[in-house]
């Protein structure tokens, strides 16, 4: 949740030796922290039930967008199966949440970890490909997941390995964490979880893996000749993004109570990638914007009585606009805008 962070600028040790560098790097975190706090305090009291639900969905979407954005913006990998991995996380959380009485934070971590493992399993063969081929392999994986989700369904409280009810039993829905039953409380819970996941990503970007990923994105040959195990680091990035997707899936099922295959279809993965491009793949702020585009825009159209499909058309136009004029997405445009404003203010101040 921070604006454009220079990846792996300096190791923490080097930063401590240079207070000014430390201050500059902390400004981004400070900004993100204030933003989180504002969101936590302001949104629940002013949003009605409809918008609160949309905001919860946007926070969750921002987490999966963060993973996809990290893969594309930092490592240069286009993954088109991020929503399938959200489905995997949701499946694990539903299965364990309905079948056991494990506390919710444990469910979150297990869902994230198992999804990371599944991601690695998909990633090992896929990472032999690069560029367009990698994107295609992940899209095919998304198609395969879609078929599996569609035919087996998601756990709904039954016994047996798939957790499905039989006959006329009532469907069970996923419980929320004890401390976050109401929508307002769950919204705050989701924001805190998102902040923790983003902090984990930031920790990666600022240190050794961040440097390795940046090198890989520019030149695999340079990375190799610096001793970077390119396959391992790409796999690591994929596992980290999958972990985020798994967490997002668990939050989603706790928020809504259940999951259906349409929510995590291959098509949704493509829409997510489009939103990442528009929001901006190079910063975590871009992920937040992508989450807002994905969930708040359709909600807005809903209140205006417009068809939700108009959003898809706007996404198409938006991508063309972004790719042609602003490769760093809306986050990049906002940063440029803020810099221009600052320059203007400084000039005014100098003249006064």
């Amino acid at each position: 949740m921070s604006a454009g962070v220079e990846p792996g600028a300096l190791a923490p040790r080097a930063l401590l030796a240079r207070p000014r560098a430390l201050a500059a790097s902390l400004r981004a975190e400070l900004f993100a922290g204030v933003f989180c706090l504002l969101v936590l305090l302001v949104i629940p009291p002013i949003a009605n039930a409809f918008w609160l639900k949309a905001c919860i969905a946007a926070v969750i979407a921002a987490i999966s967008a963060g993973g996809g954005g990290l893969l594309y913006g930092r490592v240069g990998m286009v993954s088109l199966c991020q929503m399938s991995l959200v489905g995997v996380g949701g499946w694990i959380c539903l299965r364990l949440g309905l079948g056991t009485s494990l506390p919710f934070p444990v469910l979150l971590v297990i869902s994230g970890a198992v999804t990371a493992l599944v991601g690695v399993f998909v990633g090992i063969p896929a990472l032999r490909m690069t560029g367009l081929y990698f994107a295609l392999v992940t899209l095919m994986a998304a198609g395969a997941f879609e078929v599996v989700f569609q035919t087996t369904g998601f756990p709904n409280g039954g016994a047996g390995p798939l957790g499905l009810i039989s006959g006329f039993q009532a469907r069970a829905t996923m419980r929320r964490p004890a401390m976050a039953h109401s929508d307002a409380a769950f919204f705050r819970y989701a924001v805190v979880v998102a902040a923790i996941v983003f902090l984990l990503a930031l920790l990666h970007l600022r240190t050794r893996p961040g440097r390795a990923w940046t090198a890989i994105r520019q030149s695999e040959a340079a990375a190799l000749s610096c001793g970077v195990n390119v396959t391992l680091y790409r796999l690591w990035a994929f596992a980290l993004a999958s972990f985020g997707s798994g967490i997002a899936g668990a939050l989603y099922v706790a928020s809504v109570g259940s999951l259906d295959w349409g929510t995590v279809s291959a098509r949704q993965s493509i829409v997510l990638f489009a939103a990442i491009l528009m929001g901006g793949a190079y910063s975590l702020l871009g992920a937040v914007l992508a989450g807002a585009l994905l969930e708040l825009m359709p909600a807005l159209f809903d209140t205006l009585n417009l068809s939700g499909n108009v959003v898809l058309i706007l996404f198409g136009i938006g991508i063309v606009q972004v790719l042609a004029t602003a490769p760093a997405g809306m986050a990049g445009q906002m940063k440029d805008g803020a810099m221009a404003l600052r320059a203007l203010a400084l000039r005014k101040a100098a003249r006064a």
Partner: protein
Amino acid sequence: MLEVDAVTVRFGGVRPLNAVALSFDRGTWGLIGPNGAGKTTFFNVLSGFVTPVSGTVSCFGDDLLAMSAHRRARWGMRRTFQQDQVIGELSVAGNIELALDHTRGRASAHGVEEVLDFVGLAELARTPGAKLNAMERRLIELARALAGSPRLVLLDEPAAGLSDSESVELGRLVAQVPERFGALVILIDHDMELVASTCEQTAVLDFGNVIASGRTGDVLRDPQVMQAYLGTEEAAA
């Protein structure tokens, strides 16, 4: 000590390297030859980007061909490329940290400050790689190759695109590397003055074959070398 024996590389019907046998003892070596002689392919074999169809490469007693490219880098094989590979989004210090991240025994290794001081660019530590000029890029690449515990440093046309005076400055630094960093250096360049002033010894490749190897002065006067590479006019000069 680097021993290369009977190394052959085949790309389809072409043999960029044909049973190459060379031995580099220590210090700074030049590797010269006309375009297409197989110099860069030779570096690619050493650094693990190209797998030879036959032959052996052993360096300080270790079998290099048995290691993957990134393992060779960790072992102490460092190389630069004809086109500079400074990572634009990382700071200068970040570029060097990148190499240090994957170094064994980091505590005793040559650190960021040391290598930046060596190339005289300590004040650029926080500058983004993308903002460097051509000479700074070449120097940062050299610094990055020396960070950690380098044992074999391969420099592929490090002076390409530099002015004469910059080239001299770079050569002066490269010549100090064996003593200061304890590494064997091999330098590919088309600039004969740079090679002559920097390298005590030189090997010459032509169409994938070794045609000479030994003290730089002797090699550059070798009639076969002059005919293949320098042209006979310069022999008269």
